[in-house]
């Protein structure tokens, strides 16, 4: 009963325009002060330890930073050119290339909205030029952009791993097959629609263009190798991988692509080379563009972590009142089996996804459902992927969907039109959710093959 009041208070505050973080935090504080002996000082401790005590969450600022360097540094443009060279000549080619580009950018970035902004801003304009409707273009990108959190690296996976103490490396591996699968399903759907509706296709530009564009994009795409190769090759932990990715992205953006930094020149002049201006090796670190990128990434980290930290306060309250145990025993006493339980999890997350930013929602829901899932013999990695796919769907369903909003902004069209445009592809993602929910092997096969069976330590 008290829990119901707690959650109603959280949602009520959000709906009258209180920031999400404050809604979570204040409701938790009031709850603790009324119902327990715990002090306000312990809330402050939880807030501080949200950052200082969760080593895994450190990956978030680093992945955000890498992604920011990649977006401002011209990587998206090169990836799109490469995608068009490969799949542009199929029916619906440019749309398929858009999905393909989203998949590649997703492999560099940990967030979905970032993927939509980076790829969508260019591809939607390009698709309209060659004769696609704006709605179709927006629908494709809004959906494909959600792959940003399913294809590793993924901020949402980092948060899940941190909340449940599973390995981040394992979660990342688990996302690979579902990510490729969801992307393929979207591309096949577009291909089918293109055949029926006779959508425009591009021209095959030859292997030369594939190689040249591939090489140009390769500098950026090599980041995938660094992240996954570094983690599984024993060079660094997933958190460190994120920091290395950020440093690499800085070098590529400043010294190779030179779309920013001391070697970049505006008004159409050729960018400088390092030979012409070797001092750039030093000045790049202090350049205005570098500072602005660091600052933009820092700002995004702050807003994201403010929500996560307050969600952790809520989690602390739930734990302190032993609510996960109560819910677990109630559910187990009711005799739920694993597939009914997973339906419930899906419904909770789809509803929660209407109000909450994905990372914050995971922090709150994961500790509630995780113990039950383990009790029912569900693989924790499988549960994690189910959660991530739910978050994807939450991002493109009204009223609150990050990707819907971002797409409507990027495409310059009203949100409800984006919603309608997304529907056919949303149906695809729902089918995909059902597949992922009831075929655990899609998520667990790759990590089990590479890293052995999941061990449940707790």
């Amino acid at each position: 009963m008290e829990v119901a009041i707690l959650f109603i208070m959280v949602i009520g505050l959000m709906l009258i325009g209180v920031p999400i973080a404050v809604s979570l935090g204040l409701s938790s504080i009031l709850f603790l002060l009324v119902l327990s002996d715990t002090s306000l000082a312990s809330i402050a401790q939880t807030l501080f330890q949200a950052m200082a005590g969760h080593y895994t969450l450190l990956a978030i600022p680093f992945f955000v930073l890498a992604s920011t360097f990649m977006s401002t540094g011209g990587v998206a443009r090169r990836i799109i050119r490469f995608s068009i060279a490969i799949v542009g000549h199929f029916p619906g080619g440019l749309a398929i290339a858009g999905v393909f580009a989203c998949m590649m950018f997703a492999a560099l970035s940990g967030s979905s909205p970032a993927t939509v902004v980076a790829i969508g801003s260019i591809v939607i304009a390009g698709m309209r030029q060659v004769g696609y409707s704006k709605d179709f273009a927006a629908g494709v990108i809004a959906n494909a952009g959600t792959l940003g959190i399913l294809i590793p690296p993924s901020i949402v996976m980092v948060v899940y791993a941190s909340a449940t103490d599973v390995s981040v490396g394992r979660m990342f591996l688990a996302g690979v097959i579902p990510g490729l699968m969801a992307g393929t399903m979207l591309m096949l759907t577009i291909y089918g629609i293109a055949k029926v509706r006779n959508l425009p296709k591009g021209e095959w530009q030859g292997w030369g263009e594939v190689l040249e564009s591939g090489f140009d994009a390769g500098w950026g795409l090599f980041l995938i190798v660094i992240i996954l190769g570094g983690i599984y090759g024993g060079i660094f932990t997933p958190t460190e991988a994120a920091a290395v990715a950020a440093v690499y992205a800085f070098f590529i953006a400043s010294f190779v692509y030179r779309d920013m930094g001391p070697l970049h020149r505006t008004d159409g002049q050729r960018n400088l080379t390092l030979l012409q201006k070797p001092i750039a090796l030093v000045t790049a670190f202090f350049h205005r563009d570098t500072k602005n990128t660091l600052f933009e990434a820092g700002k995004l980290t702050v807003t994201l972590m403010f929500i996560i930290a307050n969600a952790l306060i809520l989690k602390h309250v739930l734990t302190d009142e032993q609510i996960p145990q109560q819910i677990a025993s109630a559910m187990l006493d009711a005799g739920f089996n694993w597939w009914v339980f997973l339906i419930i999890v899906n419904v909770i997350l789809l509803i929660g996804g209407q109000f909450m930013e994905p990372s914050g929602l995971i922090v709150i829901v994961a500790p509630l459902v995780f113990p039950i899932a383990i009790e029912l013999g569900i693989d924790p990695i499988h549960l994690g992927i189910i959660m991530v796919v739910n978050m994807e769907i939450g991002m493109i369903t009204p009223p609150v969907g990050l990707n819907l909003f971002v797409t409507s902004g990027v495409a310059g069209m009203p949100m409800m039109r984006v919603v309608r445009a997304s529907l056919p592809f949303l149906a695809v993602l729902f089918v995909f959710l059902i597949l992922v929910t009831y075929i655990p092997a899609i998520s667990t096969w790759l990590p089990t093959t590479f890293m052995g069976p999941e061990i449940i330590i707790n």
Binding site: A41, T56, S167, G234, T237, P367
Partner: protein, 311 residues
Amino acid sequence: ACDDGEIVIKFSHVTNTDRHPKGIAATMLMERVNTEMDGTACMEVFPNSTLYNDDQVLEAMLQGDVQMAAPSLSKFEQFTKQFRIFDLPFMFKNIAAVDEFQNSETGQAMKASMTRRGLLGLEFWHNGMKQMSAKKPLISPADAKGMKFRVQNSDVLKAQMAAMGASPQPMAFSEVYGALQTGVVDGQENTWSNIYGQKFFEVQDGITETNHGIIDYMVVTSVDWWESLDADVRDQLATILNEVTTERNAVVGEVDDQARQAIVDAGSTIRELDEEQRQVWVDAMKPVWEEFVEDVGQENIDAAQAINAKH
């Protein structure tokens, strides 16, 4: 949940509730308190670091937000450097010697040594003797030269790894399995039950039975809270805790043996050291004692060695 009017005792720890020696003991303590002291006191156990980790829990205890915890002994170094004696390599021959030392006058005095800082030690709980493992066979400490070893955050343990010529790497416990598997670190040290529970043996060449150190815990409470209890409540609680401690500490050797056997059964290699090989390790690590003798106190080392001689 607790009834109104009962004294709420929150016990926070970092392991599971039913397989780890500490978790089992905490659960047993909770069950006994909740039956025998029903109406007076009520214990809630928060396992798996769900409420606090070992570092945060001591702050929270001083603040009055949690009443009992059982952190690993290395966590108390910050309160009194004497506790570094439990991290010094080859200080104790076996768990029986540890037990005798903890129950000696010196050991009992250590429990009360932090009262000026606000903490009171109640009982010692055993986990067991530490073993070494790495990606390559470890027969002599020289084999560890140039390798990266994960250690708990403790200056003594870092010095111990350095004495072996290995590079100490602090790392969150949850990252260790993955790091050993991929090779971010090459080796680690732990008790049999931890090595088995965390499946570290799967991703190591083998385990060397060094018995070079111990992992033990101390059940602590805050002085303020403990003194606020009525004398009879405090006595009853202390008695139950003492009985649980005796019962669990007596069987910890069995738990260790089972874990060791399970690792053998899983096909992992266990390397035993003969007297001579062991002496090489002891000699290599002697400088660590000298480094920390001032913190630990020569008289405490002497007391430990006198007990060792009997075992």
